[in-house]
Assembly symmetry: C2
Homo-oligomer: 142 residues x 2
């Protein structure tokens, strides 16, 4: 069961510049940064608010670490902007199976490593009215 | 001060079909629908979670009611997908002034009517790393 908007993933050319924009314009501070080699991104997580399922909603800023990564290719085609949205669930495996059973293509056979120890999968944007949609179970949920 | 991710605005060709996708795929139910003639959209609000500032985060599905509306033109150019993101604040007027003072273009001189009695304004996406960004004060905040 999806219980929150976990994050909005935003692709950018330069992570440091974009982090600085979010800090100076809105006052949002970086909570965490990491490089996800499998996804090919360097990312910063900005915590925006707590959610009533005991977790939080985040802005995730993503800079590709190589041009041929999914985010790198997306950025070359689309320019900076919202890359994906993510719904949080205590059971990413079960929810991925459930949406697959409804005919939505799930991009991974089993969930992979996401930000801050989370487990994630993605749903095909063409099956989701144009929205690349992530399902995520945070590190403290699994 | 921006205290939550208020909503993610998603443009779609057919509101009823898209509402049905979100209901059957994820179990999200429609909380509210309305037509905003000024914005030129018919919209459905799906409540996803409560937030620790006492409000909530939503998915906002938007169907243009005329092709020459901003969402209609955006949809013709981009196809279905994430149209904008919105941060919630108790003081949209003050926060709009504050971001304007930082050099970000604010699209309205004064906030206009948004969903469910809210007051909203938009920031120019070219000043926000490609993200059309809304600031919103909900009806119970102003």
């Amino acid at each position: 069961m999806l219980t929150r908007i976990d994050h909005i993933g935003i692709a950018c050319h330069d992570l440091d510049t974009t982090v600085e924009f979010y800090r100076t314009t809105y006052g949002f501070e970086v909570f965490h940064t990491e490089v996800n080699e499998e996804q090919g991104v360097r990312e910063a997580m900005l915590r925006i608010n707590g959610t009533d399922d005991g977790h939080a909603s985040w802005i995730q800023l993503l800079e590709p670490v190589r041009e041929d990564s999914p985010v790198g290719k997306w950025l070359a085609k689309n320019g900076e902007g919202v890359h994906h949205i993510a719904f949080g669930t205590a059971d990413v495996d079960g929810d991925a199976d459930a949406v697959r059973d409804k005919g939505v293509r799930v991009l991974y056979d089993t969930p992979r490593a996401g930000s801050m120890g989370s487990r994630i999968t993605f749903l095909h944007p063409k099956d989701c009215h144009g929205v690349l949609t992530e399902l995520v179970t945070s590190a403290t949920e699994h």
